[in-house]
């Protein structure tokens, strides 16, 4: 029989091991670099065209958005509304955003950069909900957690210059923010499955056909013959839910982690081929890399070095 004290001990121990086990911020730093590069690429185009989406002459400015009951963003404070969200101001906002993304990539003033990027994504969803997609939500939550993380603690200018306050701890320390980011990624996948289970088409195995056939990007092309075959579609439909469940659960265990990441990568690549969601797919793949442990990255680096040394000699 376990005493109450033992149970509490175990619980605290589990909590501490999960959130406060000292680790190097290497994996998080690699994620930060790739994440920063992706966001930089996305934000570059928005410097020129962002006003078409978010200015006072854009598709859905505040006055058009307010009557909608289900748009949950009734709070109006956002950075686009400063200076009356003119085209020029929107351009300034996206220039600052692009610079922040670049700073995040190189790891200079990392936490400040993460805060500015978060403010931009939070403002986008308030300003024009109609052009926000799932990838924006993920980027928003990841940058929010990155503000508190040690993402600038390795492979960064912050660590090179010794700017701990803005970059985070460089040595082994609690990586609780990274753990929250991983948990958030898992929750996204599992939530997705829970939402899908509410739709009949996902249960009866026909959802993928509807999704692909009726997708606005794919609608006018004819589907390959094998995609009209019921068992294939059912396999793809249930396979989708299986992979999403695995990405939210099995990715936590060492034994199944890499297989799950590989399956997740193939899954997102397939979605990209059929649904063309672009930013979201790339971001989802990057988020799976958050689960790769430090020793795997170190091992990979050793392997790459060995390969090049062998090649040179």
């Amino acid at each position: 029989m376990i005493a109450h004290g033992d149970g509490l001990d175990q619980l605290l121990d589990l909590w501490n091991r999960l959130f406060h086990h000292p680790e190097l911020p290497l994996g998080l730093a690699i994620f930060r670099i790739l994440f920063g590069l992706l966001l930089s690429a996305e934000s570059f185009g928005l410097i020129k065209r962002g006003h078409e989406l978010f200015s006072n002459q854009a598709l859905a400015p505040v006055e058009a958005r307010l009557p909608l009951r289900f748009a949950p963003f009734d709070s109006q404070c956002n950075i686009f509304l400063l200076f009356r969200n003119t085209d020029a101001w929107i351009r300034v906002v996206f220039v600052v955003h692009t610079v922040s993304c670049a700073l995040l990539t190189v790891g200079l003033f990392t936490r400040v950069a993460a805060l500015l990027i978060f403010l931009n994504f939070a403002s986008r969803s308030k300003q024009n909900w109609y052009v926000v997609q799932g990838g924006d939500n993920i980027a928003k939550l990841m940058t929010f957690l990155m503000i508190f993380s040690n993402a600038g603690g390795a492979l960064s200018l912050d660590s090179f210059l010794g700017l701990r306050w803005v970059g985070g701890a460089t040595g082994e320390s609690s990586q609780w923010a990274q753990r929250l980011m991983q948990i958030q990624v898992s929750i996204v996948y599992l939530r997705t499955v829970m939402w899908k289970l509410k739709a009949r088409e996902w249960i009866d195995g026909t959802a993928v056909f509807h999704a692909v056939y009726r997708n606005p990007h794919f609608r006018w092309r004819s589907l390959p013959g094998w995609m009209e075959w019921g068992p294939v579609i059912a396999g793809m439909t249930w396979g989708t839910m299986l992979i999403e469940t695995a990405a939210g659960t099995l990715v936590w265990f060492r034994e199944t982690r890499y297989v799950t990441i590989l399956a997740g990568t193939i899954f997102h690549a397939t979605l990209e081929v059929f649904l063309k969601l672009k930013f979201f797919q790339y971001l989802s793949f990057l988020c799976l890399l958050l689960f790769v442990p430090n020793d795997a990255w170190i091992g990979l680096w050793g392997g790459v070095k060995m390969f090049f040394l062998h090649f040179v000699h």
Binding site: L68, S125, H210
Partner: protein, 168 residues
């Protein structure tokens, strides 16, 4: 035990933050209504909205059984009618799909103004701009000996003009 509690209390603010975030991440977008979800939505919603942390994952639920989209038709002085397409670069943000599934007249009127602004450099004289809401339905039947999907060749389209500008 004591050491563990001391260690935990040393990082108490962080642990409280972690706990709060976990509750938020788990229950903000919960498909089921439960007590935590209700409390979060009623008591913390204001703070979460101000912070811009609101989100939803139900967009992955799908699939849409009817395609609803907008089409913008521009009629010029020589009576030619052209379909205005939004910039290709925003295709993945689904401009016409996202607002197509809404039914707000204010939104459609705003969209009409948006189109007018995009067309202001068009050298031709515009007589009329129509925003048309289309609902495409292609009956799909699953079955047959080999379990193939059968899609009706004739797609059913219902459309209605939801916003209109004419030169008067």
């Amino acid at each position: 035990m004591f050491a563990l509690i001391m260690a935990a209390s040393a990082s108490l603010p962080i642990n409280i933050f972690i706990g709060c975030y976990l509750l938020f991440a788990l229950f903000w977008d919960s498909p089921e209504i439960n007590l935590v979800h209700k409390a979060l939505r009623s008591r913390a919603a204001f703070l979460i909205r101000i912070a811009g942390l609101t989100h939803s994952w139900n967009m992955y639920k799908g699939p849409f059984l009817t395609i609803t989209r907008l089409e913008t038709r521009v009629r010029y002085a020589d009576n030619t009618i052209e379909v205005f397409a939004p910039p290709k670069r925003y295709e993945f943000r689904r401009y016409y799909f996202m607002i197509g599934v809404r039914t707000s007249v204010a939104l459609y009127n705003r969209h009409l103004r948006w189109v007018q602004l995009r067309l202001r450099d068009d050298p031709r004289k515009i007589e009329e701009i129509q925003i048309v809401r289309q609902g495409w339905k292609a009956p799909v039947r699953r079955g047959g000996v080999r379990g193939r999907f059968e899609v009706a060749a004739q797609q059913q389209c219902r459309e209605a003009v939801v916003a209109l500008w004419t030169r008067t």
